[in-house]
Amino acid sequence: MEVKESILLSGNPSCQGCPHSLGLRALGLALDDPVVIIPAGCSTIVAGIHPKATINAPVLHVPFASAPAVASGIASAFRREGKKKQIVVWMGDGGADIGFATISGAAVRNEDIIVIVSDNEAYMNTGIQSSGTTFWKAKTTTSPTGKSEERKDLAAIMLMHRVPYVATASVGYLPDFINKLEKAKKIRGFRFIQLHSPCPPGWRFDSSKTVEIARMAVKCGAWILWEFDGKLSFSPASRPYKDKMKRTGLTEYLRAQGRFKGIDDSDIETIEKNIDMQWKFLEAFENF
């Protein structure tokens, strides 16, 4: 493995074991010249406390719902100068709720930007409230007895926007995420990656387990790594789990997290069914 500096500097205000930090580090390893647009969210804090900044690249903080639009403007400006930098929107799943029209608008315009949703399945910066992507039955401060709705499948919805590149990734599989970024950076137009980002305080697990939990999600099939670049394919880490028999540890995955405390077997069965559905759905696409 080539050891190089990333853009994320040590001593920043992220929590111990923060998934956004993992993702931002990988981002810096994959892209040479990123310009990063960050709407409100934990990453706002991770990005540093004035007068010091965490990220060694141009970074612009922007209002919560605005990031892909601001990025569109920057893309226009860069185009007029022939500037070739990668314009990256780094946002949370909450940003994708309030800003969904903005993401969708930029996608429909096929703006030349990369939008990454670092998805920790809740509004963490404001203290763990339910978002669209919050897992069914997960306890948050606005769903104290567990969320009653299914999670929103952001990546699939973006796929239907018919943009040139859509992928899922996970902080448990950084080389895969880096690969995807490297592929994405060679494509022009709107690129979207949903990065699965288990959060220790938000999901209630020990800070040492961020990577482990992320991997459990993939192994039990609850988080599926795939990529669309004209054609949909499952990523190597997820490929084995097309075979349902190979998926393992759903119960362990759920029980390892405080947010699922009290979940019962019939709930787990329901979740399993939904997971099967999701695989079937993606397979239908794979063959399309």
Partner: protein, 85 residues
């Protein structure tokens, strides 16, 4: 520097949250003899606190927050988490 720049422009530098090494409860300690310098811990350290000096893998304790991810991802089990004094 104008007031606008002074108040709006932050410059990249380590320790924007101070010496975050102070946050640790547990301290990661590398067993040099076990480590094979695969650098997985470097890749997965969310702080970027791990580096390679020559063939040696080093942890920057000034900023390492003690999350324990390095220890948990090390296939060689070469990192032990030790309670801070």
């Amino acid at each position: 520097m104008s007031v606008v720049e002074e108040c709006l422009i932050s410059k990249p530098s380590k320790g924007s949250a101070g010496k975050t090494g102070l946050w640790r409860t547990y301290k990661p300690v590398i067993k040099e003899n076990v480590c094979n310098a695969c650098m997985l811990c470097w890749l997965y350290c969310p702080e970027g606190a791990i580096s390679k000096r020559g063939e040696k893998v080093e942890i920057d304790y000034e900023y390492c927050k003690g999350c324990g991810i390095c220890s948990s991802v090390c296939a060689k089990k070469a990192i032990e988490m030790v309670l801070e004094a």
